[in-house]
Amino acid sequence: MIPQNFEYEAPRTLEEALQLLADGSAKPLAGGMSLIPLMKLRLAAPERVVDLGRIPGLSYIREEDGAIRIGAMTTHYEIESSPVLKARCPLLAATAAQIGDMQVRNVGTIGGSLAHADPAADYPAALLALEAQVRLARAGAERTVAITDFFTDVFTTALEPGEIVREVIVPAETPGTGVSYQKVAHPASGFAVVGIAARVRRSEGRITMARLGVTGLAAKPFRAIAAEKLLEGSSATEADVRAAAGAVPDGVEANSDLYASAEYRTHLARVYAARALRAALQAA
């Protein structure tokens, strides 16, 4: 459990960090909850690691113009316990609370988690349901991508070499939005075997908005748009919920591992989608 030799840089400013990362050969280190174990197993062997942990100003949660901006180095625990998020974006706080264990949540960061793009990570489900934006930065340039465009495949994101996650932007919820994140945690790793984030609004007995983010089921997290369409305009009966939940895994090639076959995962996605929707509707 000893990594290969690597150079370690701990820049004090973002500009400096981005310069160090610019040529794409160095690996940024955020909370290190995935990168460090991979390095210790020698499955990752970067020659140079740029620690973002000493840079002030990358950890924050603030509300601005109806949106909540979260710095990339904000820890899961800070997100889970943030009064702002609990009040204004409870889905993200609730999701963070279900990540790994307390030790991981105290150290792991939202930016690191997104950049690592584990197909069973928890945040993506919530961020997809929230239609979050991700602000990316590299030396001398910034851009913002929609979360749906951020995850491209297993462990693969829209991040270009030299680019880091700078900030995550989620909407401040309007009253009457019901949310829920329901997850089957792997008993060993705590990763989501399947995780479903549901977000609904209703008006006069009908669902006016439905968003379903799905993690763990496939190579990359996704929004179950067909299921959302089934819900929107419906009167949110149990039959509507079941029909929509049933459509969540449609057309998806499900992952399979020792713990859960593709068939069982697909089934779990339906069950947990229904559970998440019921809980969200109850809160809406």
Partner: protein, 777 residues
Amino acid sequence: MATTITKTETLVGKRIRRKEDPRLITGTATYVDDIQMPGMHYAAILRSPHAAARIRSIRVEPALEHPGVVAVFTGKDVEGIGPVPCGASLPGLRVPYHSVLARDRVYFVGHPVAVVVARDRYIARDAVDRIEVDYEPLPAVADPEKALEPGAPAVHPEWPDNIAFTYHQEAGDVDKAFAEAEVVVRQRIVSQRLIPTALETRGVVADWRSGERSLTIYSSTQIPHLMRTLVAQALGLPENRLRVVAPEVGGGFGSKLNVYAEEILMGFVAMKIGKPIKWIESRRENFLCTIHGRGHVDYFEIAGKRDGTILGLKLKLIQDLGAYHQLLTPAIPTLSVLMMPGIYRFRNIRADIIGVFTNCVPTDAYRGAGRPEATHGIERMVDMLAAEIGMDPAEIRFKNFVRPEEFPYETPTGLSYDTGNYAGALEKALEVAGYHQLREEQKKARQEGRLMGIGISTYGEICAFGPSPATPAGGWESATVRVEPTGKVTVLTGASPHGQGEETTFAQIVCDELGVDMDDVVVQHGDTAIVPYGIGTFGSRATAVGGTAVYYALQALKEKIKKFGATLLESDDVSFSGGVCVCNKTGRSVSLAEIAAASYRAAKLPPGTEPGLVSTYFWEPPNFTFPFGAHIVVTEVDRETGAVEIKRYVAVDDCGKVINPMLVDGQVHGGVAQGLGQALYEQAVYDENGQLVTGELTDYAIPKATMVPRIETEHTETPTPVNPLGIKGVGEAGTIACSPAVVNSVVDALSPLGVRHIDMPLTPEKLWRLIHKGGQA
């Protein structure tokens, strides 16, 4: 004489906090990896990625050229040492030569191939990657039943049938019992391979003093003295030139009741390089190379009458041994056979063990060691028989229990159960659980379509290993009690506790006998240079056997104390209690400290008495002890997902007399947690090519604190006559009792769907398939 205070409070039987804990929970204990020495070097081991392969060549030069590397050793360098010892013997046992490093062939993933020695551990690890091994992969077999099929790859080419041994035991008239049976139930039951997962992995520091020609090995072990004997032998070193120290040991659960290649290897390396050497096992190595537990495929048949009387039991036991025999590997399944009748009265048994080589790491003792498998088997079979004849699982047990008046009870497998009140334990468990009300609730739940289950397991244990004739290396234990000149008491125990809390329980015994305070007692263990020869801690023996040795040492010591007291008091009629020696005629008294000082000052020795206050006792137990109990588990299975929720866990354990109830509860909690691990989560999975695919804690699920339910612990107390303290042992009880109780509960929950048996672990997908597919899991 000064004023003396007679101590009247007794400590045995009290909930006393552990003396060990402050150093453990503040991170100030000294484990192997905490040991630093000037000039220390570090070892890293290259291990086979293949389950079976021929080694065509090894090129170590690139590693040797790496700056900071001092030496690299491969199989050909260590031909003069070893082999890794197997301490068990069975008639006709095939024992493959277990070299310390692989020679021309590797037999399992993780097999050590070369060791790199460097001036720091980082260099050592880097250099491992530079060694070039040319392997010719060979077909491997990881499944013991597949290994028995004709044409299966031979793990050891010299034994193409892969059979290491067969073992037969029979009693009564089994054929008659089965011929006369009204009901026969058959079931294949798997006790899956488990990874012991001690919190501290193994580690070895070896220090060779060439001038003194003496070697010290620090090892995270449960058996320092046995290790000294065996490692000295393997290294060709006189035993009195080897000192073995078990410093703080962070759990073992049987996985450190062993002598591994690394202990011999590090001794060898230290002697070669003339510098201290350290090797610390990584978690990944721990999963691949430290023994696994269980690994049974059992074919049971139970014969009974419609009134619930059990007539007989047959067992064909296929034991996955792995590629080699570690210290006790082949002996473990024989313990399953010993305990296969459980606590029931039937007399007809037949057991056949087939010990099978596979291309996997060896199996050996893991918490319970053979008894969890036996208990799981008999407790499942009793439940299946009850289900077959429509009898309540509690009732069938009451009908078949050995009765209190039948003790000592000779079992058909040749054991003599000391004492027991099996019905009493079950009655208590039923009462605590509210069994009859639970059955009513279950009826209601079933009407609502909920899958609620109630599972009972009534177990019997064999503990306090054991009488020497029945053990491979002696079953006694040693103790020395020394009152120091200032009256402080030092206890040396040959048992080598590693988390069980004997520094506390032994001190409690001492306090009651000598009338001293807990703070006045220090219990030392785990160092062969300090402690007289001892056996170690395993098989729930440390308190029952080691504690008894302490007790007897104290009795002899008290006689000597009285002699010195009598001399000081110039009286021939004294008594000693509560830390004070009193002249029964005058009432004058002297304290233990005064007596101790006088005994070392030796100005006036009692006639025929040596100076000092030291007493050593080697206690040989006349029998094992046989604890027992009843666990009841209430579960509910989520019909949609197959997930199991434990609603209630009731544990009634009878471990004889209790020294410290808090420690007994702790043992039950920990044992139950590991039983839950087997029942619900854990399984070491090798793929068809012999790759361990649950190779890290990310895939191998052990129960965490949040996954263990509240355990309602209760006790009955049936002392044993085997030792004067009446204690039986409790280290493994929870693990042994738990898994059948959980499986019985879940099978009960799913029984309306026609389910009669499920193999562990009870993973949600497995249950979901049973619920929704009506198929086999």
